[in-house]
C-alpha cells in the first residue's frame, strides 16, 4: 500500500498552503487544517497516512494533537514542525511517539527526507504486518495439520486390535487403547492417567520394561517376545509383545508397549499338533493290527488250554491257560491306555510324590518277568531327592516303558554269555532337575533304529511291539516339561535318562 495522503496542520494559513502546493507537486494528496481541533476532525474524516503538524498552535497544540492521533492509531506517522531552539517540546513530541521532526522554516528537502523516512517506516510496518499475518496463517495451517495427524494417530491407536499401552517418564499410563482394555480386562477410564505400570502389569512383566528403559539407548526396541498375561478377570492370555523406549533430546520420556493376542494362533497350533498325532495313530494302525492279532492268538490259545484243563480236570493246565488269558487281557488294557494317552491332550497332574518310591513300584512289577528271562534288575538311589512336585503317573508309566524296553534289549541280545543287567539310578542335578536313568547291557541300537526311536509305528520288536511305547513316553515327558536322553552302543547296551524339573516339597517341620 502506498502512503500517499498527507494531513498538514498549521495555524499559519500561508505555510499550510505553501507546503500543500509543494507536496502536491511531488505527487502527494493533501488535506489541511488550521488548528489542532480541526486537524483531529480532518484526521478522523480523511484517514491520512502521514500527519505533518506545527507544534505551537493556539487551542489544541501539536503535542496534544499528536497524543490524540496516537490514541486513535498508534501506528500513524506524525512529523512535528518545530521552531528553532524548541528542544524541550521536540523531545516531548518524540517521547509521545512522533516519528520525526523538522525545523522552521520548513525547507522542501528536509520535509521530503522526513516524508521518505515516514513512508519507509510505513512500508516496513506494512511488510511486518503482512509477515505476521502470513505467519499466523501458517501457524494456523500447521496447527490444523498437527490436529489432523494427531486425530489420525489417536484413531489408529484406538482402532488397533493390538493392545497399545504407553507410560510417561514416571511410569504412569498415558495411552491405553480399547485393544488393551479388552486384553487386560480393565476399563480405559480406570487406567489412563490413573494407574502406574506396577498396578497394571505383574511384577515380572513390569520389570522387563523398566530394565529395558534403564539400559538406555542400546535397548530402544527389543524383538518380539512371548509371555502369558493375567487379566483382571482371571484369564490367562498368551501374548507376543514388543516395546519401544522413547527419548526426546536424549532424555527418557516414556515407553510404549505393543501386545498381540496369540490365543487364536495357539489354539490353531494345538489343533495342528493334535491332528498330526491322530494321523500318526492312523499310520500306526497296520502295526497295531499285527499286535492285536498276537493278542488274539494268545487269547485263543489260552482258552484252548483252559478247555483242556477243565475236560481233564488238570489244574496245572487250567492255571497255565488262565495265566495266558490274563496276560493278554492286560496287553489289551495297556494298548488301550497307550493309545488314549497318545491321542489325547493331557495336562500333568502335579502332586507331592517320591520318585524313589515310584521306581520301587516299577521294579516290583517287572522283577519276576525279568528274572524268568535271565535279566537282573538293580537300583541305585539318591536319597536326597525326597518328595517332589511331579505327576506320579507320568513317572510311573515312562519308567515302566523304559525298563520294559531295557529288559527286551537284554532278551534280544545274541550274546548269551553276558550277565544281563538293567540298572535304575536316580539323582538330582544342581537342584535344577532330577534324573531317572535306565541302563542296560543288552543288544544296543544301531544308527537306523536310533533315528526312528520316537517315530510312530516304528518298532524294533517285530510283532511284539506296538510302536507306541517311546512315543507315549516322549509325549508324557514333554508335557511334564522334561527331556529324554539316549546313549547307546550296538552290542553293549543303551542308557535312557528322563530329566524332569526339580521342585522339592519342603517337609513340614513339626516342632
Amino acid at each position: 500500500m502506498l502512503a500517499n495522503k498527507i494531513l498538514i496542520v498549521d495555524d499559519e494559513d500561508i505555510i499550510v498552503r505553501l507546503l500543500s502546493m509543494s507536496l502536491r507537486s511531488d505527487g502527494y494528496e493533501t488535506v489541511t487544517a488550521n488548528c489542532g481541533e480541526q486537524g483531529l476532525a480532518v484526521f478522523k474524516a480523511e484517514a491520512p497516512d502521514i500527519v505533518v503538524t506545527d507544534i505551537k498552535m493556539p487551542g489544541m497544540d501539536g503535542l496534544e494533537l499528536l497524543k490524540k492521533i496516537k490514541d486513535i492509531d498508534p501506528e500513524k506517522e506524525v512529523i512535528i514542525v518545530t521552531g528553532h531552539g524548541d528542544i524541550d517540546s521536540t523531545i516531548t513530541a518524540l517521547q509521545f511517539g512522533a516519528s520525526d521532526f523538522i525545523n522552521k522554516p520548513v525547507r522542501d528537502e528536509a520535509l521530503a527526507i522526513a516524508l521518505e523516512r515516514a513512508k519507509a517506516k510505513i512500508a516496513i510496518r506494512e511488510k511486518l504486518k503482512e509477515y505476521t499475518e502470513n505467519l499466523e496463517f501458517k501457524i494456523a495451517e500447521a496447527t490444523d495439520e498437527i490436529r489432523r495427524k494427531s486425530n489420525f494417530q489417536r484413531l489408529l491407536i484406538r482402532s488397533s486390535n493390538d493392545a497399545i499401552v504407553a507410560f510417561d517418564h514416571d511410569w504412569k499410563v498415558v495411552v491405553f487403547n480399547p485393544g488393551a482394555a479388552n486384553m487386560f480386562g480393565e476399563a480405559v477410564k480406570d487406567v489412563r492417567n490413573k494407574m502406574s505400570i506396577d498396578e497394571l502389569y505383574t511384577p515380572k512383566i513390569a520389570k522387563i520394561f523398566k530394565n529395558q528403559a534403564k539400559e538406555g539407548k542400546q535397548q530402544n526396541t527389543f524383538p518380539w517376545r512371548e509371555n502369558i498375561i493375567n487379566t483382571k478377570d482371571g484369564r490367562q492370555i498368551p501374548v507376543r509383545y514388543t516395546s519401544n523406549v522413547l527419548h526426546e533430546k536424549g532424555e527418557f520420556v516414556g515407553t510404549v508397549n505393543f501386545f498381540q493376542d496369540l490365543t487364536e494362533i495357539k489354539r490353531l497350533e494345538k489343533e495342528l499338533v493334535q491332528s498330526e498325532r491322530l494321523a500318526a495313530v492312523g499310520q500306526t494302525v497296520s502295526g497295531l493290527a499285527h499286535y492285536v492279532k498276537n493278542i488274539l492268538i494268545g487269547l485263543k490259545g489260552g482258552s484252548y488250554v483252559v478247555d483242556v484243563g477243565i475236560a481233564k480236570n488238570d489244574t496245572e493246565k487250567f492255571k497255565a491257560g488262565w495265566k495266558t488269558i490274563k496276560r493278554n487281557i492286560k496287553r489289551v488294557g495297556d494298548l488301550t491306555q497307550d493309545l488314549l494317552t497318545y491321542s489325547k491332550q493331557r495336562e500333568p497332574e502335579f502332586e507331592s510324590c517320591s520318585p524313589n518310591d515310584i521306581v520301587n513300584e516299577v521294579i516290583e512289577l517287572i522283577t519276576d518277568m525279568a528274572r524268568s528271562n535271565g535279566v537282573f534288575v538293580s537300583k541305585e538311589f539318591d536319597t536326597g531327592i525326597g518328595e517332589v512336585m511331579a505327576d506320579p503317573q507320568t513317572i510311573h508309566r515312562s519308567l515302566l516303558n523304559l525298563v520294559n524296553n531295557a529288559i527286551d534289549a537284554c532278551i534280544e541280545d545274541e550274546d548269551t554269555s553276558k550277565k544281563h543287567e538293567v540298572k535304575i539310578r536316580t539323582y538330582v542335578d544342581n537342584n535344577n532337575y532330577f534324573g531317572l536313568e535306565v541302563k542296560d547291557n543288552g543288544c544296543g541300537m544301531d544308527e537306523d533304529i536310533q533315528k526312528q526311536l520316537f517315530n510312530p509305528m516304528f518298532s524294533s520288536k517285530g510283532g511284539k511291539g506296538t510302536g507306541l511305547g517311546l512315543l507315549v513316553t516322549g509325549k508324557l515327558i514333554e508335557e511334564h516339561k522334561g527331556v529324554i536322553e539316549t546313549e547307546t552302543s550296538p552290542g553293549n547296551g543303551s542308557t535312557f535318562t528322563i530329566k524332569l524339573p526339580y521342585e522339592k516339597v519342603n517337609t513340614v517341620d513339626k516342632n
Binding site: N294, G298, K300, Y304, T324, R327, N328, T416, K464
Partner: protein, 130 residues
C-alpha cells in the same frame, strides 16, 4: 512210538498252546524259545518235526529255516512254519537271501498263519508225519 515235535517260538502263550495241542494228540512236545536254542535242540534231540515261528530274537525263523534246509542231515526233518507273518513276506525275505547268499532254498512244506484252530494244526502235522 510217539513222535517228538519241537516248537520254536519266543511267545510263551504260543508255546503253551501248541504244547497242549501236541499232548492232546499223543505227541511228545519239545520247546525252544529262539533260533539259537532251536538249533541246539534239533541237533540234540533229532525231532520228527519242527514247528517254527518266523519273527524271533536271536536267530530268526528265517535263518534257522535256511540252516535246516541246507544241512544234508537236517534237511530231511519236515518243517511247519507257524507264524503271524504272511507267506508272501516270508518268501520275499527268503528270495532276498537266495540272491544274497547264492543257492536256492525250497519253499516250506507247510505254512500256517496264526491264529489257527487246534484241529487244523493237528491235520497239518498228521499229513506230514503220515
Amino acid at each position: 512210538m510217539s513222535k517228538k515235535i519241537l516248537v520254536v517260538d519266543d511267545d510263551q502263550d504260543v508255546r503253551s498252546f501248541v504244547v497242549t495241542v501236541l499232548e492232546e494228540n499223543q505227541y511228545i512236545p519239545l520247546v525252544a524259545q529262539d533260533g539259537v536254542e532251536g538249533l541246539e535242540m534239533i541237533e540234540k534231540h533229532k525231532p520228527d518235526l519242527v514247528i517254527l515261528d518266523v519273527l524271533m530274537p536271536r536267530g530268526s525263523g528265517i535263518r534257522l529255516y535256511r540252516k535246516l534246509k541246507t544241512d544234508e542231515e537236517l534237511k530231511k526233518i519236515p518243517v511247519i512254519m507257524f507264524t503271524g507273518i504272511a507267506l508272501k513276506s516270508f518268501l520275499k525275505s527268503q528270495k532276498a537271501l537266495d540272491e544274497f547268499q547264492g543257492g536256492e532254498v525250497p519253499k516250506p512244506d507247510v505254512y500256517l498263519e496264526k491264529p489257527i484252530e487246534p484241529e487244523d494244526l493237528v491235520a497239518a502235522i498228521k499229513k506230514k508225519l503220515g
